[in-house]
């Protein structure tokens, strides 16, 4: 479990996170919700360790847990354009200390959920479409044995086909990995996530479980568009 305790962060005098506290239980898919500029990316960066909070802490039972986080960003430019898909995936796994046999084992384990791999593995990463890139980055996350996955707007720019493939992949692993997702895609997020944390004014304003799209949109509208407190 990852615990966020009283974390605050300001930029140029502007308070983005204000003594925020919450937990991300193991082997669940949690959604972080809020409009642009609410502090989601700031929070993700603090969780990953690439940003130090002004106060508070992020802890886990595993001391070096941030090394076990893998982030899939929107935009899909994260891997090396002039290396092949196979080279990229192997490299990311090697960076985390996996042996060749571990990599092979993990590929064999997850490939059934990623049938695309065999047809693109020897292509340069830049030759893939946006959707293909996102799927391959997610495969890389799984092959590296990362315990925690952060998916930041993973469906941005994806067509319906690839969105479905991504959703299928996420739902197939959510009982074995701890996943944190941010997305403006209400259909995707309500299908992929089990817990929902709605951010507002630098804190968690609402915490819910198992929302369908209608319930999700009602809360979203009330909280952000009508400015209600729930």
């Amino acid at each position: 479990m990852i615990s966020v305790k009283q974390v605050s962060k300001s930029f140029h005098g502007n308070c983005v996170l204000d003594h925020i506290s919450f937990e991300i239980p193991d082997q669940t898919a949690t959604a972080l919700i809020g409009p642009n500029g609410i502090g989601k990316t700031t929070l993700l960066n603090i969780l990953c360790g690439s940003l130090v909070p002004d106060s508070g802490e992020v802890t886990s039972e595993t001391p070096d847990f941030q090394r076990e986080i893998f982030t899939v960003l929107s935009g899909s430019h994260q891997l090396y354009a002039k290396n092949t898909v196979k080279e990229n995936i192997e490299f990311l796994a090697v960076l985390r200390g996996l042996s060749n046999s571990d990599i092979r084992q993990n590929l064999d384990r997850y490939l059934p959920s990623f049938p695309l791999y065999d047809s693109v593995k020897n292509k340069l990463f830049e030759e893939l479409s946006t959707g293909q890139k996102q799927l391959m980055i997610l495969l890389a996350a799984l092959v590296t044995n990362s315990r925690y996955l952060i998916l930041d707007e993973p469906t941005e720019g994806l067509d319906l086909d690839h969105k479905r493939a991504l959703l299928h992949a996420v739902t197939s692993i959510r009982n074995t990995k701890t996943i944190l997702i941010t997305s403006h895609d209400s259909d995707f997020i309500t299908s992929a996530a089990e817990r929902f944390l709605f951010l507002k004014d630098g804190q968690i304003a609402v915490e819910k479980e198992h929302l369908d799209t209608k319930e999700f949109l009602e809360i979203y509208e009330a909280l952000y568009l009508q400015g209600e407190s729930l």
Binding site: N45, Q78, F91, L95
Partner: protein
Amino acid sequence: MRIIWYECKMDVLRTFRYKMGLVSDLVIYTLLLCFFFWSNTGQSFQELYGVENYQALLLLGYVAWTFSVTAISTIASQLLAELQRGTLFFKLHSRLPLQILYLGDLLSSVLVQTIVVIIYSVVTYFFFGVRYIVTLPIVAAFLISILGMYGIGLMIAGLSLYYKRIGAVVLLVQLFLLFVTDTIPTSPVITEVSSVLPLTMCNTVIRNSFVHKDLGMTFLLLCVVSLLWFAAGYIVFDCFMKQAKKKGNLLLY
């Protein structure tokens, strides 16, 4: 070691797939060297080292400079490029600290620059009749000074993480090194001051080795100074990395 090797392998593959980078390096380094030979730069080495073949001495210094600027620019420019691309994030969570991981890129760059060095050496052999022999002490001096210059590169990389925009700093440093490290003949007063740089010391060692002069303590001093610069670069980089994380310069975009 395996991680460093993979880092090296990935970078070599990218370098040969991005062909323009290699070609532009080759053209620029060769043209600059040819200009130095054509303008008889380095004649003062004749008197200083007591040999006719001053061009070989100039070329040896130029080779050392080529590797040195590679060592500096490898980490400085790569790091910023990876930050903007989003791939740095994966490396932040690597088993190895960045300063050690990027030794893989350094190795890759040195291998690629060796090809550039061989080519321009061949060109200057045919056009200017310049010949030189690379002995074990010369190779050792190159490698040790590369490590020291990499340390300087770590400092610049740390600065680039913190300030983000370093513009032409790397280019200025490269030019600065050309003129103050006795790569091309420099005033003794300047080389006295710049002798703390691994490249200046390397130039002394390789030229003395080439003319079969006694290296004395110079080689040992080169080793010590290079290791100190590497250690200093390692620490400075760490400090700037921590400050960059506080400032939010490593934010995922």
